[in-house]
Symmetry: C2
Subunit: 214 residues, 2 copies
Amino acid sequence: MKEQANILNGVIMKILIIGGKGTIGKKVSEHLSKKHEIVIGGRNSGDVSVDIADSQSIKRMFESIGNVDAVICIAGEAKWAAFDSMTEKDFYIGLNSKLMGQVNLVRIGQNYLNSGGSFTLTTGILADHPVALTTSAAMVNGGIHSFVKAASLELKNGIRINVVSSGLVEDAVQQYGTYFPGHNPIPMRKVINGYVKSVEGKGTGEIIRMYDNC
Amino acid sequence: MKEQANILNGVIMKILIIGGKGTIGKKVSEHLSKKHEIVIGGRNSGDVSVDIADSQSIKRMFESIGNVDAVICIAGEAKWAAFDSMTEKDFYIGLNSKLMGQVNLVRIGQNYLNSGGSFTLTTGILADHPVALTTSAAMVNGGIHSFVKAASLELKNGIRINVVSSGLVEDAVQQYGTYFPGHNPIPMRKVINGYVKSVEGKGTGEIIRMYDNC
């Protein structure tokens, strides 16, 4: 019952962060590591290797690290392109990676979470306020929002699930700013707080939105 | 310019209704046929054969019927089952059919719509208010909502796109009522009006929600 007690007291949790070396992931990992034990999963970096687009890889990862108290996923890709240039195959990039990758992480991971543990997935403002070129990315994000609400009704052993959906984060403005005309950048400290709220809070089925001008 | 004029005057349109023989589809077809020319597409019934889960079948359908003023889709399936019993493959039933089937209909159909024409897709209340057993169905519906918003930003030639999301319709209560505890059935005349609003109205990127107690 050690893990259960730890969660209840909000003290040390063992947290798996997939994509923990990315733009957002590295800041979230850094923040949470002050208080918790962090295991970082990634395709090419981190403590454990995982490609979320491959469900066998997800299974191997959990077999390798064992039970955890929380899983955070800040990984997954989707193709950005003009709608009239998108092929059927292009749409499946996002479906197989960012959408089913996160679903499979929950589907498989529910067997490796300690009682009272949590999943925190990641989407983004496109689910609610898409911009041009994002028919696939928006679709994937919207699908995850509804999945999280539905899964929260069924997860057992007090396991919670939430999703953080942020506007364009300030650290990504230089790379992606031109795709988001007029969007106010979201400070990284607010984005980090989205993950903290999900992991250390008690909510479930929540879409934790951090938008700023819509 | 005949088709364009017809749309602008709100008189006769050539409307393709996929799933036009289903529970909702037959009522929508019946209503719209009073004023418009209706072509019904279906897997096993209707005027033209189509399986939306197969993009080649969608292409053949459009090649066979030629240009239309409006496409309504009230078709597509997704597996309902307990989350902890759902396999990865089970999720792909909904992704290939109700999700990508509708996306492919728009992706391919945009080349067969007359200027100023419209797409009307179908989801349901699960996108916003899921019930047990619907992790896949909810996900698919939520994905379509965001896709419609994103596609509306990019469709050309004045082509519009909306989606009708209804609560449990009264005609389906006997079959599905027990899955929706406490849900107020939605009268069929309201659901029909959702499709009329999309096809004969001027809106685009709209999620036309008809819910009643949430």
